[in-house]
Structures are given as C-alpha cells and as structure tokens.
Symmetry: C3
Subunit: 348 residues, 3 copies
Amino acid sequence: MPLGELAVRHGCELQGDPALEVDHVATLRAAGPGALAFLANPAYRSQLPGTRATAVVLAPAAAGDCPCACLVSNDPYAAYARIAAELYPPPAATPGVAPGASIGPGSEVPASAAIGPGAVLGAGVRLGERVVIGPHCVLGDGVNVGDDTRLVGSTTVYSGVTIGARCIVHAGCVIGSDGFGFARGRDGRYTKVPQVGGVRIGDDVEVGANTTIDRGALDDTVIGDGVKLDNQIQVGHNVVIGAHTVIAAQTGIAGSTTIGARCVIGGQVGIAGHISIADDVMVGGGASVTGTIRRAGVYGGGPTPADDLPRWRRNMARFGQLDRLAKRVRALERGGPGSDTDEGDGAG
Amino acid sequence: MPLGELAVRHGCELQGDPALEVDHVATLRAAGPGALAFLANPAYRSQLPGTRATAVVLAPAAAGDCPCACLVSNDPYAAYARIAAELYPPPAATPGVAPGASIGPGSEVPASAAIGPGAVLGAGVRLGERVVIGPHCVLGDGVNVGDDTRLVGSTTVYSGVTIGARCIVHAGCVIGSDGFGFARGRDGRYTKVPQVGGVRIGDDVEVGANTTIDRGALDDTVIGDGVKLDNQIQVGHNVVIGAHTVIAAQTGIAGSTTIGARCVIGGQVGIAGHISIADDVMVGGGASVTGTIRRAGVYGGGPTPADDLPRWRRNMARFGQLDRLAKRVRALERGGPGSDTDEGDGAG
Amino acid sequence: MPLGELAVRHGCELQGDPALEVDHVATLRAAGPGALAFLANPAYRSQLPGTRATAVVLAPAAAGDCPCACLVSNDPYAAYARIAAELYPPPAATPGVAPGASIGPGSEVPASAAIGPGAVLGAGVRLGERVVIGPHCVLGDGVNVGDDTRLVGSTTVYSGVTIGARCIVHAGCVIGSDGFGFARGRDGRYTKVPQVGGVRIGDDVEVGANTTIDRGALDDTVIGDGVKLDNQIQVGHNVVIGAHTVIAAQTGIAGSTTIGARCVIGGQVGIAGHISIADDVMVGGGASVTGTIRRAGVYGGGPTPADDLPRWRRNMARFGQLDRLAKRVRALERGGPGSDTDEGDGAG
C-alpha cells in the first residue's frame, strides 16, 4: 500500500516518499522494511529514533524525531487503527453452507452468507448479506442477524434474539439464555419464573469470548449501537447498555440496570441490579457500583490493592473496627476517651 | 387460559369474570388485552391503576386499586411464576436422534429422549425419559442424566458425572473437568494430581450459561436438589452445595468447601477453600468469604463502592495505614501522640 | 500394581509386603482393600490409625502410626501424585479422524493423532504425535500443536496460535481471540484496532475450562512452560506469564502485563495492565494488583471479608471518610480538633 494513498484516504499529512509501500504493521522496536508502526503513547517516544520501520503514524510534535517516512495526524492512534484495518481485512469466508450444517424451515440465508461446519440454524432464522456463522454456532428459532455480522464460532444464540449489522461475536458466547429469575416458596423451594423477553443487540457491536447475555424476563435486554464488550462479561436480564459504551473483561451487570452512552467500565467491575448509570461515566477496574450514578465523571473503587501479607491482614482487621475507631476519635475531640476504648483495640 | 381455571389450579382468589382469558404475560406498563401482569414489588404499585392488562396477580392489599380482573394471592410472585410456567412450557423437542449425533456402545437412550445435531455420547451413557441433549453437547463415558432434564447445548459433561431429574443446564457449561490439583516439586515444577472423583448433581437444579463445575479429587463434588446456579460460576473440586441454595453470577467457590442448604449467595462472591457455610446464610454480592460461617444470618462484604476517583484514592491510601492510625488513636487516648506519628501521615 | 515396584520407581521407602497390590486411590477415610491413600496435610493425621487402605504414602514422622503398609517419602504429596498418575493414565483416544471431522488443505495430522467428532481443522494445521483433538474443537489456519497435547473438547483456537507438547486444554476454552483494542474517535465512536499478534503456549501447560487467552495486538501473548491456569481465567493481549507459574480460577490479567516465573496467584485476582510482577511472587485470592511488584514475597489484598451486614455497612461508610478521619487524628495529635470535625461524623 503506497504511503501517498494512505495519507489521502485517512487524512494524514505525509512526510516522505509517497511511493513507499507498507504491507504490515509492527511495534516501533520490532519493525523492519515494509512495516508501518505508530507512536501514540509517550512512554514509547524513546523508541522512535531507532525504529527501522518504513513509516510511522504519529502526532505533529513527534514528526521531527522520526528517522523515516511518517504519516502525521492529530489523532495518531485512530489514524493507525483505520490504516491497519485496511491492511488486515477480516478473514474472507467462502459463501455457502458447509457440509454438516443444518438450516431449519423458513430460514432466510442469502447466497452471500457463509455457514460453517456444524452450525445449526432453527426455524425462521433470518440472516443479512455476507453474514458469517462460524463452526458449531447454534441459532434458535426466529433469530435475526444483520448484514456483515460475524459469529466466530461455538456461540449459542437462543430463540428470539436480534443482532445488528457489522457486529463481531467471538467464540464461546451465549446470548439469550434465561435470566436468573426464581420465586421462593414458603418451603424454601424455588419456582422458575419464565423468561419471555428477548435480547436486542445494535449495529457495530463487538462481544468478547465466552461472554454471556441473558434474555429479559418480560421486556428485552438491550445492547446499544457501537458497544464493545470484552471477554467473560455477564449481562443480566433486562439490562440496557447505551450506545458506544465499552466494558472490560469479567465485569458483571446484575438485572434491570441501565448504563448510559459512551461509558467506559473497567474489568472485574460488579454493577448491582435495578440501578442506573449516567452517560459518560468512567468506572475503574474492580469497583463495585452499588447505587445509581447520576453524574458524568470518573469513579474509582475496588478491592484493597496487593500489599505485604501481614501488613494487609493487620489493616483489614482494623477495617472491621473502623466505625468504632471513628467514634473513639470523636470522643477524643470532645475531650475524653470513648466508652468502647477497652474493646476497641483487640485486633492482632 | 380462562382465569377461573387458573384461580382454581393455583389457589388464588379471583376478582372478575372467570371466563376471561389470558394468553401471555407482560409488565404492568406494557400489558394489553390478553396479558397477565403481576404486582409483587411495591416500587411498581403506582403502575397498577393505569394498567391495560386483562388480569393482574397481586396481594390482597393491592386488590382494591386494580382496574381489571385480578388473581389474589398471599404470595403473588410465586403464584405468577406457576401460572407463567403453565403459559410458557419448555420448548418441545422432537424425540429421536438428530443426524450427525453419535451414540457410544452400551448407551441407553429411551425413545422419548431428543438428541440434537452434533451431540456426542460416549459409552455406557444412561438417559432418563424425555431427556433433551441439545446440539453439540458432549457426554463422556458413563454419564447419567435423570428424567426430563434438558442440556440446552454446547455443554461438555466429562465421564462419571450424574445429573438428576428435571434439571436445566444452559449452554456452554463444563461439568466434571479436572479439579485444580498439582503437587509442587523441589525444583518448582508441578506434577498433576489425578482427579478421580466425580460430580453428582441433584434433581431440579438449574445451571447458568458458561458455568464450570470441577470433578472431585477423590470424593465427589456435590450439588444438592433444587440448587440454582447463575451464569459463569466456578465450583471447585469437592465442593458440596446444600439443597435449595441459590448463587448469583460470577461467584467462585474454591475446593473442598461446604455450603449449607437454603443459602442465598450474591454475584461475584469469592468463597475460600476448605471452609464451611451454615444453612440459611445470605451473603451480599462481591463479598469475600475467607473463613467458616457458623450461624445463619445476613453477611455483607466486598470491594469499596465506586466513588469520586481522587477521593477514593486518598481513602485507599489511608487504608494502607489503618493499623498505624488505630495505634495513634490509642496513644491519644492514653494521653499523648504515638511514637510512629511522624511517619503516620505520609499519604498524598 | 505391587508396592515393591512403586517404591522402587518413585523413590519411596517401603514398610510392608512388597507383593501387596493397589489398584486405585482413595481418601484415608473412604479407603478399603486395594486402595492407596496418602497423608500430606497434618489436619488429616487423626484419620491415619483407622484407615483400611492397603497402603498409605506418608512422611517419615507419620510412619509409626500407620496401621498398614506405607510408602515413606520426604515429599509425600508429590510422590502420591506420581504414583496416582501411573494408576490413572490419561484416557486412551483411538487414533484416526472421526466421522464428521473436517481437515483443511495442507494440514499435517500424524496417524497417531486422534481427531474427535465435529472437530474442524483449518488449512496448514500441524499436529504432533499422539495429539488428541476432542469433539467440536475448532483450530484456525496455521495452528501448531506439540506432541501428546490434548484438547478435551469444544475449544476454539484461532489462527496463528502455537501450543507446546504435553499440554492439557480443558473444554470450552478460547485461545487467540482478538485482544480488546479500540481507538476512540472525537465523536465518541470506536474503531477496532486489528489484533495481528499471536499466542504462544509452552510445554506442559494446563488450561482450565472456559478460560480465554487473547492474541497479541502486534507481538504475541506468551504462556511459559509448565504454567497451570485454572478455570475461567482471562488473559489479555500481550500478557507474558513466566514458566511454572500457577493461577487459580476467575483471575483476570489485563493487557501487556508480565508475570514472572514460579508465581502463585490466587483466585479472582485482578491484575492491571502494563505492569510487571517479579519471579516467585505469591498473591492471595481476590487481591487487586494495581502496580508493579518488584520483589519476591507474599502479598495479600482483596475485598472486605463477609461480616454481619449492618456492621459491615457502618464500617464501609467510614471507609468513605477515612482520609478525613486521618486528618482529624493528626489535628488531635497537634493539640486540637481538626477543622472538618463537624462534617466528619455524618455516617449512619
């Protein structure tokens, strides 16, 4: 791919020979002839002068230090992403139905779609143009999948789920499984509450490996346009996630919670049920969101960080006395030791 | 379904015309003609007068405000669950063995069982009446499955696992995988300890999507009758879970721990190994159960909740000094500043 | 298996008749004739005198109390592991390609390999001798698998992944899925950053059920020799895990982090991205590793432990005031109440 063409198509300023070609991407350190590298994180700035890349995507301020051709952009990471997407198109899938796949009655599978070995489509499934259903995927009755969406493989989509256009669903996902709803009887036994809602996933969504998204109890579970979910995320029934929100791995969202648009949620976050989170909220990894967040902003939380084990144990023992400690401080402020001083210092 | 019949079968008092029929369920807000709604959570009480449902299941105290027919029950959620289960029977599966499924020698598959495409049954598998084995499930040698149990799909059951009657196992589960057992040698390398126990799952158990249950090292891992496990739960080797206990998503239970009957465990809870939890214990989401719990009761715990990021960071830095802070308070109570005051306030 | 032979092969001292035979393993309590038991954890010492095992593997100090034959070793658990591995060899797989499996062009499948029903191998896949690819595994183009490695089943290995020799990959894993990389545009929408690195897994690695390992963005994700990963672990892109490190279930490792050799990481640990952990570090379950750990040692951390709910709530409310509390203590040490005393005690 000649640099001149890339510069024009992706709105970068080119410094160097427009006829130079790149055919792969690499890190500044590992790059060699033909490689396109990028510099977006200042931590890697020191690697720029020594790079052997053919070209580097970078910001104007760094262009002076570049020992080779460069594509200058005010947002070099986004420019790099677009160029790399051009160099690495999604794997081509051969249209048609592989041997060993089965298609239920009344399903609509366009000639441009590719159905992998072992895929099982129920009745009345509707696939858009160029949809790829990978090996061993199972689509229940009435599932709808939009144009250019790709289910990589071994994903189970229960009946009544709708997935939009241009989505990528990685391997091992389960979409539309029953929400966790049971009524407890007086004898302590549980009766299953039928989960009759569906799941609606918007356009341009990516779902990471082994992520699970439950169907709604009555209304639908909804994943907005452009949402990016990492691996091993759990989405409970009737959750609504706003457009262009990204969520990192192993986060869990309990039922009936609404998350706004353009949020950034870290990994291993736990979000309680029946709450809401405003648009443009960032939540750090490991935090516990136990109540509604009404204002955009950056929120921290999480487990106590790794520390020397005996010290951590002493501090955690003190946590269990924290309310008493606060009362003792108040008593001191009022002029004397608190009444529970004696028992207040019993931790090892 | 005529309301008169539902009232009789499910022990409700009917207020309204017994010939009125309902054929689906809906929320109070979304309900229209033919819909059965319910009111169990007082938070939705204000939606009752405006509902357009044909009938509502509710408690005696709410019956006066109901604008339509109602089915009155002292436990409206449980009554709703039973009626909804009647309106939404589990999906019918066609008995027989689908093309592409394989059945090992000596297996017993009754004519009433349904084996989906791609299912692989090993040798000596025994299935009860009306069992449904969904697409791409793999059952190892000697697996036993009780009457009316349904494995939705893409679940791997290792050899030597027993699953009871009327269970539902959602897609993507792994049952009977090796427990995590290794012996460390003097050189730091590990030798695998064979995991030769099995897994026994009782009757009326539901297992959520992508949940994993390891086989025992020597004895069995045991899941009691009526247990309900949500998605992405990890059950370690030799864990025993008592009857009618429910556990929410992403909780992990380390090896050789015993959980009592009728417990309610929240999501993302971490339960240490080699401990026990009494009957009738409730544990809040995100808690860390690091020691035995001997008494029934309600227990909290968990990561610190999401908070303004700089404030959270300051507080978490203080957590790392908590033991010293407590000692300083004690010194003040004794009449003077503690000896480590100088270094005690170094946090940003 | 005669005890005399076992003693010689595994370097134990035999006390008892070398002609006695054992053919299975059991706990001290459940053992009967023909059983081999072991005693490694002092907590079970009291069960030794009453055991009905044929033989017990134990340490020299316990040999005097043994009521039956014993195999004496300075490291009884490791000796037991090796003997048990001999009694329970991995399940034999019939070499050959099962009906319904498909093999892409240019793949090398030796006659000693066993390919299960529904397995799908892409183009140019290379398998070593005696490799077992279980039912419904999917191997993308160019995947390499070393001698004697076994993929139990329903695992998806994306193209460009290398797995070493003598590995075990449990069911439901996903290896080589795209790392979570997106560039945010000025309009808040994300562009996918192609993930063009691979995954390299060393020899003698075990990967637990439903674990996910993402491919690198540019360089590879690397799992060292002898690493043991439990179930439902998430390994982000470009993570490097050193040799003989073990990690318990549900732990997540964010992108570009390096973990040293011979580490022991507990379950549900969260490890931030772009950090490094030294060799020989132990991290307790549930901890949050938010920064680089430079020194070998034992580290604790984690959520607050389960406690009586109202007490925990009071303590957690105080955590939110901890920085102010510390300042109030400092003010007292300086001779007077702090200026924010009034608002400092508002928790319920």
